[in-house]
Structure formats: C-alpha cells, structure tokens
C-alpha cells in the first residue's frame, strides 16, 4: 500500500520490520548499527528493517496506539524507562511478550522496568547510571581531592562544596531545570535509597522516610547555596562550558556533552553520587534515564516473529554490537556479558579515569525500584509544591500533605 510504514509483505515475500526511535544522535544510530550487523549475518532472511526517527515521541506513540490500528503500528519501539510501565499497563494487548529474553543477562534494576504483571515485554538497552561530574582542577585548587568525593554522604558533600563555593565564587551543583520543577535530582536521590514515589503495588508513598529525606537533602543543598537550578538544559550547559558551574549529577549520557568542549580535557572528574545518610540501605549508585526496546503486536505474524528474533539476536546475545555502540555513541548498555569486552576497561583520555568500568560497576549496584505508572502525574504535582518547600514557605509535613491530596485529584480513581 502506498508508502505505508507498517509491516507489510510485498509479493517477493520480504517482510518489513519498522523500528521507531526518538533520538537522532543516540537511539537512531544505535538501531541502525544493530540492523546493519543483523543484516550482515542474515543475508536471506527475507526481512527488511526500517529505522524511523520520530519527534515528540511519546505523543506520537500514544496517538498511534490509541487509534488502535494494529496494522499501522511499528514493530519495534524504544521507550524511556520512566514511561515503560505506563505504556505497558495502558496498552497491554498491543505489546508482545518476549519470554525469549534472559533478563539475568542485564543489570538487575532493569527487570522491574521491562516486566509487567509477571511477564517480560522488553529488552533492556541503555542505562542512565549516574555519576557526579565535577571540575577536578578547581575542586583541587580548594583542597578537594578525588578520593574525598567518592562514597560520601550528601552532608559531607555539602561541606566540601561550601568550601569550593566560597573560594571560587562559582555555582557548584547545576540542574537542568528550576529547583522544584526538576524531578531529576529527586529521582536520582530517591532511587539511590531503593525507594520510589510508589510502593510496589502502586500506592503513593511520599510519606516515607526515603522521600522526606530526599527532599530534605535538596533543601539542605539549597540552603547551603551549593545547588543552582537553571531555567533549561541549555542555560546549564552554557554555565558548564563557561566554567560558571562546577558540578553535575546526571546519568552516564551526560559525559559526551562535557567532552564536546575539547578545551576542557583533563579538567573534569567523575565520582560516585553522594548517598543519603538517614535512610537504611541507601547506596552511592543511582540512575537517571535509560531506555528499553519493545516489540509490538501488529497482527502480522511473520513480521512480529522477525522483530522478536531480531531483538533476541542482537540485544540478548551480541557483545560485538554492544562494543560498537559503546565506541560510536558512548552507549552505556546494561548487557552484562558485554562488560567483558576490552572497551569497557580502557582509560578515557579526556577524563583520565576508567569511566566505563566505573559505570559498569555502579550499574549493577543501582537499587531496583518500580517506577509505576503515574510518575509524570505526580511530578507535575511536585511543580506547584516543592518550590515552596525549598524556599521555606511551607513545612515538610504540609508539603507532603498537599502533594498527597493534589495527586489524588490528579489521578482520579478511574
């Protein structure tokens, strides 16, 4: 049919498998690499792969799924981990289970993300394992060494940061959106405690110690003046490039950004993310972002089968592929067997550390949490409440109360 992107069989018997990806600089080239390598090994499979870049990805995917025309679905989609449970629960019947995948091959925290109601739907792909990126040179100037920053608590970090701030007059920790608006810090700190906004059964859990300690930590950072919320990612990056901002806590995917300014070679260091002292089981490893791959049920058996086979072959069994994407796109993947590759052990010339190994190690320590399906709704509720708490306008308890009641109306029991 006329240019239809969906899986369709032409007369010659070839089947088209459509793959959707969101990021033209990351997921898309990854996918293309996978397709290329797969095709090289399966010359006469009769399957043609098409990788399509989609903007406003979630909107688009939801429209397509909601329209419910299975024949128009793509065969494989990437979904950001935070959105995965929402999509799986909303459109369960349109997702193909993927029991072929051996989840033990992947970092443990990914399991909760790609399974729903006990069934495996997705293949884990990259990780947003976090790190503390900091200006080695300037921190050192004010007496803070690399080893001082590893495996510390937030309170310890604040002390060190205050020292650097006082000396340099620059901002320390920069976030990509305003404090109170930006869920990134909360997500990272909270997950490092092994907790999430919701309990395993999906109940709101913001009255927990973990959550309270999380936002208390951010308030402390704010009170100490060592955290700065920028209006958007660009402004923060600008501050980073200009040397006005000296530290960032972000997923592994932030490293290429830092490295894009060649003049900064050797000036940045990577350390573990501080941990929350007041919560039992809190660790120095956490996560921000990452995505996984899913096969959709398009009603075309041949294409659906081909899609699953492709996922299994490339993503759960091909270490060479992972080595290549690590090299090409700096993709920090969660496939454990691939970590044996030498690429994971090399010293990064820019940072002067074995960064990938650091990521690999920490990735396995990330506590597994269940993101649930209403994270986005809750995070919009944060926006109108947390700012007031950080600035001291509302108390901790009343803030929590407000969040709870606002959430309730937002996620009406339907």
């Amino acid at each position: 049919a006329c240019g239809n992107s969906s899986s369709s069989s032409s007369k010659s018997g070839t089947t088209t498998v459509t793959i959707w990806a969101d990021d033209p600089n990351f997921t898309v080239p990854n996918m293309k690499t996978a397709v290329k390598m797969y095709n090289a090994e399966h010359k006469n499979s009769g399957v043609k792969f098409k990788v399509q870049t989609q903007g406003d990805y979630v909107t688009k995917l939801q429209t397509v799924l909601s329209a419910g025309k299975q024949s128009s679905f793509p065969n494989i989609v990437t979904i950001e981990d935070y959105n995965a449970q929402k999509m799986l629960s909303s459109y369960t019947k349109y997702f193909n289970t993927n029991s072929d995948i051996n989840l033990n091959n992947f970092s443990g925290y990914k399991k909760n993300i790609v399974t729903y109601q006990g069934k495996t739907y997705g293949v884990p792909f990259d990780s947003g394992v976090s790190a503390l990126y900091y200006r080695k040179d300037i921190f050192a100037k004010y007496g803070v060494k690399a080893k001082d920053l590893n495996n510390i608590t937030w309170d310890q970090f604040i002390k060190l940061a205050e020292k650097v701030k006082k000396g340099s007059g620059k901002e320390i920790l920069g976030t990509g959106t305003l404090l109170g608006q930006d869920p990134d810090m909360i997500r990272q700190i909270l997950q490092s405690t092994g907790n999430w906004y919701f309990t395993k059964s999906g109940k709101l859990n913001v009255n927990s110690t973990a959550f309270k300690e999380t936002i208390k930590t951010i308030k402390k950072l704010n009170d100490a003046g060592v955290i700065k919320g920028y209006s958007d990612f660009n402004s923060r990056n600008k501050a980073v490039f200009n040397g006005n901002d000296l530290a960032i806590v972000e997923g592994a995917w932030y490293l290429p950004t830092i490295k894009s300014d060649k003049n900064m070679k050797g000036k940045w260091g990577v350390a573990t993310v501080p941990r929350v002292a007041g919560v039992k089981g809190a660790v120095n490893s956490t996560n921000e972002g990452g995505s996984s791959l899913y096969a959709l049920n398009t009603g075309n058996a041949k294409a659906d089968k081909a899609a699953k086979e492709f996922l299994k072959t490339m993503y759960d069994g091909n270490s060479k592929f992972y080595a290549k994407v690590l090299k090409d796109q700096a993709a920090i993947t969660t496939y454990k067997p691939a970590k044996k590759n030498k690429e994971w052990k090399q010293t990064d010339p820019f940072v002067g550390q074995k960064v990938n190994q650091y990521f690999a190690t920490n990735m396995n320590k990330i506590p597994a949490v269940s993101y649930g399906i209403h994270s986005v709704e809750l995070e919009t509720v944060f926006q109108s409440n947390l700012g007031n708490y950080y600035s001291g306008k509302t108390s901790l308890n009343s803030t929590i109360n407000k969040i709870q009641s606002a959430y309730k109306t937002q996620v009406n029991s339907n």
Partner: protein
C-alpha cells in the same frame, strides 16, 4: 442582497458540495467520534462508561482550574494590549504622508511568517537568564543590576509568554485593521478637522468606532486562539515554573499524552473550553451590537 431565482439557487449546493464532504469526513465524523469519548473514561486501550463522571472530576480538578485561570489571564492581559498596539500601528502605517509605508508594513508583519516552533526556540534563547535580553538590559542599558529571572519567576514567565505572543501576533492583527481603515473615507477626517477635533479626538471619535466590526472580529479570533494557546508556553516555559504558565490546552495535552492517556477526560475538557469560547464570542458579539 439580490434575490436569485430558485433554479440557480439550487446550483449553489454544487459549489458547497466539496466542502460539505470535507466537513463531514474530516470534522463532523471525528467530532461525533470524540463526543462519544466525553462519557467514558479511557485508560489506554480500555474504556468504561462514566456518564457525567468526567465533568464531576473536572469540577474538582485544581490543575484544570488553575490552568484555565492562566489561560484567562493571558486572554485578559495580552489580547487588549495586542489589539491596541495593532490599531495604533495600523493608524500610523496608514497615514498617507508616511514615507516607505510598504516597507514598514512588511517589517511589522514579518514575525507572522515564522513558524511557531522556531519562534519559540528563539524566544527561549533570548530570555534565558544570561540571554541576550538580560545582557542588553544589564550591560548595555545598565537599567538592572542583576539578571531578571525571565523564565524562572512565575510572574516573569507569564510576561515572557505575553511578550512572545505580542511579538508574533500584533502584526497579524494589524493587517486586519489596516484593511479596515481603507474603508474609512478621508473626508470624514477632514470634516472632523473642520469641526475642530484634534488628532487624538479624531482617533477616539472616528477611527475607533469605524474599526469596531474589525475589533470584534479580531477579538473573537484572538479569544479562540488564546484559549487554545499551546505552542508558546510548551516550548518557551514548558508551563513552568510551578505550572504558572500552564494553559488549558497544555493541560489537555498532558492528560492525553503525558499522563496515563485518558482521552475521555481530555475530550470533556476540550468541550468545556469550546463551550467557554462560544459563550465569550457570543458575549463579545452582543456587546458590539448593543453599543450600536
């Protein structure tokens, strides 16, 4: 209006035919389809009938009310300023003695040619805390000592959105007024001149009343588009900070696409907005008529 005989009148249906087909297929059918949604709650692929449940929910939904409030604020503040600016510009650019009239008109209209996406990107960059505007105010004009938190202050964020809207749409509306002014005869101004009216008096007593139908037209049009305002807050402030620039259209978008998708609720919200627009438009028309 001249009468037309019956035979020819019937031929008229052929002219309308194509558009009626288009309307039925691309408007009416989707509308009816969405009306169905109003009475259901939809979570992804499952749908349950809830009667008027969506409207009950809407009634208790604070975010809905506050985003509606924001939309109204934009409407009340931005639309009048924009229309006044547009009228003043139109009057000035209509003056016969003005040199390079066509050139100025072109410049003022220019913002309309930019796509919403690109102009939003531009504004976001201009107004970031160390963006050009702040640099200019601070280092060139020295009128402020610290950067204005354009995008990070709840009030300023609204100001930026309003400025963006003004920039993008004033010229667009100006064209309508300019066109309207072509219908005001020069002689009326001369008569007023002889009656002793000053330029300001002429503007108030002659120009404004003459432009009234166009003011109505632009006001209705602006009401419709302001209450459906989406791209600017989405791209410039993302509705923030603290939801302070979240509009009703953005909220509908969130309900449909960001949250667990509930198209039933989203459709209900949409119809409420449509209803509000309808009421406002009717009021505007009524006001315009009553003054007659």
């Amino acid at each position: 209006m001249n009468g037309v005989n019956e035979r020819t009148n019937r031929i008229g249906w052929w002219f309308i035919g194509l558009s009626i087909i288009g309307f039925v297929v691309f408007m009416l059918y989707p509308i009816l389809n969405s009306v169905k949604l109003v009475f259901s709650s939809i979570s992804g692929d499952s749908s349950t009938f809830v009667g008027f449940g969506n409207f009950v929910r809407l009634f208790h939904d604070n975010v809905f009310w506050s985003s509606l409030g924001n939309s109204f604020l934009f409407l009340i503040v931005e639309v009048p300023i924009m229309l006044i600016f547009a009228i003043v510009l139109a009057v000035v650019l209509n003056s016969k003695k003005l040199k390079l009239r066509g050139f100025w008109r072109l410049l003022i209209f220019l913002p309309c040619v930019t796509s919403l996406v690109s102009y939003s990107v531009l504004f976001k960059m201009l107004f970031s805390s160390d963006g050009l505007i702040n640099t200019f105010l601070m280092n060139t004009l020295h009128v402020i000592s610290a950067p204005i938190p354009w995008l990070t202050d709840p009030v300023m964020a609204k100001v930026v959105i309003i400025l963006a809207l003004l920039w993008r749409w004033t010229g667009y509306n100006m064209i309508f007024f300019l066109a309207g002014l072509q219908n005001v005869s020069e002689e009326i101004y001369e008569a007023a001149e002889i009656d002793g009216a000053s330029k300001v008096q002429q503007f108030l007593h002659i120009t404004l009343p003459a432009l009234r139908p166009i003011i109505l037209f632009t006001a209705v049009q602006s009401t419709i588009s302001t209450l459906q305002l989406f791209d600017e807050p989405m791209n410039i402030t993302a509705g923030g900070p603290n939801n302070s620039s979240m509009t009703i259209a953005m909220y509908i978008y969130n309900v449909s696409f960001k949250f667990v998708p509930n198209f039933g609720y989203a459709a209900s919200l949409s119809y409420v907005v449509m209803f509000i627009i309808l009421i406002l438009s009717l009021i505007q028309m009524k006001v315009a008529k009553n003054d007659d």
